[in-house]
């Protein structure tokens, strides 16, 4: 009886610890997450995009599934992989037409 009680106590405290450790698991954030608004990217002039900019590459990755317009892009315009960030690069900001 006593060993049953101890086993139950250990099991409950282990479960509580595991749940608290998962509190900041990235998957936890998914539950209330909103979807990326990729509509603006579809209307952008892709020829003017700086595909070497990590911000633009990241946006492309986010919207890859949603963007049909990107299918017509030439190979040279598609993301080439990561290059160092070009701080102050205005091109990516300008293309969205939503400067701050």
């Amino acid at each position: 009886m006593r060993s049953k009680f101890i086993t139950m106590s250990i099991a409950i405290s282990t479960l509580a610890f595991t749940l608290s450790a998962q509190a900041h698991d990235p998957k936890e954030h998914m539950k209330n997450a909103e979807k990326p608004d990729c509509a603006a990217m579809e209307n952008m002039d892709h020829s003017k995009m700086d595909m070497n900019d990590p911000v633009m590459q990241a946006m492309m990755k986010q919207c890859m599934g949603d963007m049909e317009g990107m299918e017509g892009m030439s190979g040279s315009e598609a993301p080439q992989g990561d290059k160092p960030a070009q701080h102050g690069n205005e091109s990516s900001t300008e293309q969205t037409g939503d400067n701050h």
Binding site: A21, A23, H24, D25, P26, K27, H29, M30, A33, E34, K35, P36, D37, C38, A40, M41, P54, V55, Q57, A58, M59, K61, Q62, C63, M64, G65, D66, P79, D82, K83, P84, A85, H87, G88, N89, S92, T93, T96, D98, N99, H100
Partner: protein, 193 residues
Amino acid sequence: MAANKFLRCGKCLMITAVVAMLGGLAFLYSGLYPMGADVPHNGLTYWGLETMRERSISRAASTIEVPNDLASSERLLKGAADYNAMCASCHLKPGKNQSDFTLGLYPAPPNLAQKGDDHGHDGGHDDNTYALQRQFWIIKHGIKASGMPSWAPGHDDERIWNMVSFLQRLPELSTRQYQVLTARSDSTKERVH
């Protein structure tokens, strides 16, 4: 004669030190110092706390090794989602200038959607490597009595570096870019799994 003078001076200094110590203790126990977050520190206290904070971070962070792929889009994306979930309510985002936290916390958390020069909480250093080390250290360890928690429990170093990566580009982002980067798309879910 000279030794007598020295002894008298030493006694004087000791008495002054004891009186100052007793005065300090009396002030601590009196409860006179306003502890509410709605009353700012006086100039001297603020300077003392700020100097202690910056010196402590500088000493602790200067040996941290910065990864050389911080600018990668993969890090940017992972860090963006975490920033939005964990930091944006206090440190804001493009298109937002205040929140209940920024209005009520003291000291007010810096608006990280602005450049360091604008929010004035970059530690006053021009050294970019140190700026990265400092941001990493603050996210990982937090800052006592400031509202900034330590994210080390439950977040490994890689995940914290991802947030540092995102912070480097945050001040340049438009509201639309921010929305796309911080949202959790199906591809984000695949990356997380």
